[in-house]
Symmetry: C2
Subunit: 188 residues, 2 copies
């Protein structure tokens, strides 16, 4: 049986262009695009993580517009996607929320364009999803990527997405879409 | 030898939610996200197609900021991506621009979430890219997708991207990212 899959988009702790740990701002396109990708690929819930109360309120207002407000009547498919969005104040809060609903461990997976060292491939992560114990939570970083403390405390690191050349500056929206598509892929 | 790959994002002729042919507005996130995906996957050029002169000027201003202006100094990787962006007034203009630079036919490929009928798979399109004659131009529609006239006049139709369920409402930014990743994929 396939384990359930969760994703989280972190706005803290993430890096800025100089490698300092910061809190980034929430981006409207991230909410919509990632919610739609998550819905397409059967993700159980998409957590948006920010420790800033005003930013969390902003996300709730946007999501509410599309799930309970005028947006949802106008565009039911957008409502369907945004219904799976949940706001959390920290990564620990996300793990606790999942643990309350699921049995077994919550296996966190760090992602990033510059991840090296001992990484699992997308194919290996697919097998972990299909056969592993517990639930899987994939972490995506905004800004210049997840802070070291998140990567180091994660159960797995996922290999970076790369094309034929050295350029590795996808938007996080595109990276989430590609990651979920690769994990859903049946072997050709 | 692998044929060169071009992509175009059409703002006309595309459909609105009621299936009428319209001209949609240019979206800043489309320009950036798709340019970054195109650069990652070795696309030769990314055409943004709009018949509205003001919208074309807006795209040139945004691209100029990141390629010749302050944005490029601040963020060289963004400059690198946006250097491959070109504005065109129509799909015919795009095909003519490519034909001036390339030998052989320009094979157009229509995409869409609701494409049916005789479609090529991503694997088949990869083989066409690797072994086919001429260059390939993949067309993506904004709004509710490409108008019928574009689909009917295209050389190929690409199978719709689908996940495990029936939901098929990815953003065009995500659809481009997934499509390019699938075409670049080596067989596992």
């Amino acid at each position: 049986m396939r384990g359930r899959l969760y994703i989280a988009l972190l706005h803290h702790p993430v890096l800025d262009r100089e490698g300092r740990v910061i809190t980034s701002s929430v981006t409207n396109a991230d909410i919509h695009d990632i919610a739609r990708s998550a819905k397409t690929y059967g993700v159980t819930r998409f957590f948006i993580v920010t420790p800033i109360a005003d930013q969390a309120d902003l996300v709730r207002t946007i999501v509410g517009h599309w799930t309970c407000g005028a947006g949802g009547s106008l565009n039911p498919s957008r409502r369907e996607a945004l219904e799976a969005v949940e706001v959390a104040g920290s990564l620990e809060g996300v793990v606790e929320a999942i643990a309350r609903e699921e049995s077994g461990p919550v296996n966190t997976v760090a992602t990033g364009a510059r991840l090296g060292g001992s990484c699992v491939s997308h194919g290996q992560l697919r097998e972990i999803l299909d056969n592993g114990n517990g639930t899987t939570l994939i972490l995506f970083g905004t800004g210049w990527g997840l802070a070291d403390e998140v990567i180091e405390s994660s159960r797995y690191r996922l290999e970076a997405i790369s094309g034929p050349g050295p350029y590795n500056h996808l938007s996080v929206r595109s990276a989430v879409a590609i990651t979920l598509d690769r994990l859903a892929r049946r072997k050709e």
